[in-house]
């Protein structure tokens, strides 16, 4: 990799689920980069393939019927698709950490909070249990959990959802990773807690020069938090580039629809009222542009051909209509 500043580079990633003879293309040709100290947002409705993208990078699809069928994942100069399971376990938790959407079920119910953090440190850094526990306490302080000392000895069920997510974040931070993938880390939480957790991520990024992939379905979070953003729809990239550029002047019809649907933080509303229809199943994907059944601007060509990516003012778009618009304006 040329650029030392690039932490993760994913190119033409394809991940499918196989049930019998049927192949469901959950991720179909996705490319993106994450630079050092940057927050990349991945946004799209539920079912657009955000989690599968994250799980592909983490190589955590082993327990599912899914596998990466194409592309490359390059992390700090290493081809992750080529490393063994054992090597991957040394990378996960130490160099790439992940925070999941489900704080209530992501912690082991029969191990104490302290144990779950400390064991991670012990495994990756070969320090004593005692030292690891001392660091676990500091980490709980870092993620602003009060009474850290006491919390170490508690079980997950004794903590609220917000506290559990903080524990997950502490666990992610415990070996000073280069990259944290946070998959809808606040979706399951109350609005006020949501903001606190997002603030925490911002602070941590500054403090540790951490790179973060922040997955969300909420354009409001994207606007608030990210430097760059990739908009995903049905396993494909819709638009990808500078957050400021895209928010100021969205080109893809799906990005525009998502922006209209930004939920106001003070009310809990179904997002995407603005777009009629639902996201297709990966086993029944439409021909051509995957968004065409829901796109008001769809033409005959959109129904048959898949649009290529093109670049305009520093961002990438996959849409025939957007391409025409750009051409006309020249």
């Amino acid at each position: 990799m040329e650029d030392k500043n690039i932490v993760l580079e994913v190119e033409h990633l394809k991940t499918s689920f196989f049930y019998g003879k049927k192949e469901g293309k959950a991720v179909d040709d996705i490319s993106f980069k994450v630079k050092k100290g940057e927050i990349l947002g991945i946004v799209g409705e539920s079912g657009s393939g955000k989690s599968v993208t994250a799980m592909s990078v983490m190589k955590l699809l082993g327990n599912t019927k899914g596998r990466v069928v194409g592309g490359s994942i390059n992390f700090m100069g290493r081809d992750l698709l080529a490393v063994s399971d054992k090597e991957m376990r040394q990378i996960r938790g130490k160099h790439i950490a992940m925070v999941f959407q489900e704080p209530m079920t992501s912690l082991n119910p029969v191990l104490t909070v302290g144990e779950q953090i400390a064991e991670t440190i012990v495994v990756h850094e070969k320090v004593s249990k005692k030292e690891a526990l001392a660091r676990a306490k500091e980490l709980l302080d870092t993620v602003q959990i009060p009474l850290a000392e006491k919390r170490l000895g508690e079980y997950p069920h004794e903590l609220s959802g917000g506290m559990r997510q903080r524990v997950m974040i502490a666990m992610g931070l415990c070996c000073n990773p280069d990259l944290i993938i946070a998959d809808e880390p606040t979706t399951a939480l109350d609005v006020t807690i949501q903001m606190q957790i997002l603030e925490l991520f911002k602070k941590l990024r500054e403090q540790y020069e951490l790179s973060i992939i922040l997955i969300t379905h909420d354009m409001g979070v994207i606007a608030e938090m990210t430097d760059r953003v990739m908009v995903m729809y049905a396993g494909c990239m819709a638009e990808y580039g500078d957050t400021a550029t895209i928010l100021k002047n969205p080109r893809h019809p799906y990005t525009k629809a998502l922006m209209k649907a930004i939920p106001r933080l003070d009310e809990k509303q179904e997002y995407l009222d603005a777009i009629p229809g639902v996201i297709p199943s990966i086993f029944n994907l439409p021909e051509g542009c995957r968004f065409h059944p829901r796109c008001r601007l769809a033409t005959e060509r959109c129904r048959k051909e898949r649009p290529d990516a093109f670049t305009v003012d520093g961002r990438t778009v996959c849409c025939f209509k957007a391409f025409e618009e750009v051409k006309e304006s020249l």
């Binding site: 955590l60 376990r89 938790g93 950490a97 082991n108 991670t120 069920h157």
Partner: protein
């Protein structure tokens, strides 16, 4: 702590009712105990004398209090109707034998059943999985006495490796242990497999993988500790079955346990010994169940709140 106190209180209540039932049995089964003790051809007067000397003429409540009182205060279960031997020490000796056999059986079942269950789960649908599950269906469906006979046929009669009957040496324990443990082994293996499969789908296993825990740690620490909760219960129940099942096995292998004592006492209509054996066996069941509950508690911290 409050949980512990509550458990022990309920244990005492259950034991109390169980003891009443054991006590009353003597009056419910057909035949007159005084008559039985006197034997055939004894005059009605003599039978009456025996009845009085045994206290069988007194009110039931009084009889019960005397019986239980002696057991609790002196550990005295009375005397055998047949040979006037003290029942307490006899049962203690026999019971120790039964315990040894049951422990061997459950130990055998655990150390083989759990590993096979784990391997079955992590290699779901592999050859090992299918073989283990096929074997365990066989293991569950074979009656103990039949297993016992087959084992004796192969290992004693044909190969002459282990003695078929008796007790006293480790060699004597091998066949009864396998006979008694095979069913439990199958049940424990199946339970381990299904419990592990259930746990392996959980989000916290994904978390353990995501933070780079070595595979063995994910399986043996993160998964197994959670999977153990239902397995422990199964082991406890199986141990109860083993204690009960020992009756048959002990008879086949002529092994001097409490089960064989009970069977012998029944055939001899030795009512007082029957009472004692029943009390000990049911008492054991109840105490065992309490211990399982407490273990359960230890393995699942979530229950502590409740």
């Amino acid at each position: 702590m409050r949980y512990l106190v509550r458990k022990i209180l309920s244990l005492v209540v259950v034991l109390f009712f169980a003891s009443i039932i054991c006590f009353l049995i003597i009056h419910f089964i057909p035949g007159d105990p005084a008559q039985a003790m006197a034997g055939p051809g004894v005059s009605a007067e003599d039978v009456e004398k025996i009845r009085v000397s045994m206290g069988l003429d007194r009110p039931l409540v009084e009889q019960y209090i005397t019986w239980m009182g002696d057991i609790i205060t002196k550990g005295d279960f009375g005397e055998s109707l047949i040979n006037q031997e003290a029942i307490g020490p006899l049962m203690a000796e026999r019971f120790a034998n039964t315990l040894i056999l049951s422990f061997c059986g459950i130990f055998f079942a655990i150390i083989i059943g759990i590993p096979f269950g784990i391997v079955s789960a992590i290699k779901q649908n592999s050859f090992i999985d299918l073989a283990t599950m096929g074997f365990s269906i066989l293991g569950v469906s074979m009656p103990i006495f039949w297993i016992s006979l087959i084992l004796i046929l192969i290992f004693s009669v044909n190969l002459g490796i282990f003695p078929a009957t008796g007790s006293g040496t480790v060699m004597h324990l091998v066949l009864p242990t396998i006979a008694i443990g095979l069913n439990s082994l199958a049940v424990i293996a199946r339970m381990t497999r299904s419990s592990m499969l259930e746990v392996l789908r959980q989000d916290y296993i994904r978390t353990a993988d995501a933070k780079g825990m070595p595979y063995s740690t994910v399986i043996l620490k993160h998964a197994l500790k959670n999977a153990m909760i239902p397995i422990i219960t199964t082991i406890g129940i199986q141990f109860g079955y083993l204690l009960g099942g020992a009756v048959l096995t002990e008879t086949v292998f002529v092994y001097p346990g409490i089960g064989r004592l009970l069977v012998n006492s029944i055939t001899r209509r030795d009512y007082t010994t029957i009472q004692g054996c029943m009390l000990v066996i049911t008492g054991l069941f109840v105490i065992l169940n309490t211990i399982i509950d407490l273990l359960y508690h230890y393995f699942d911290p979530r229950i502590k709140k409740a």
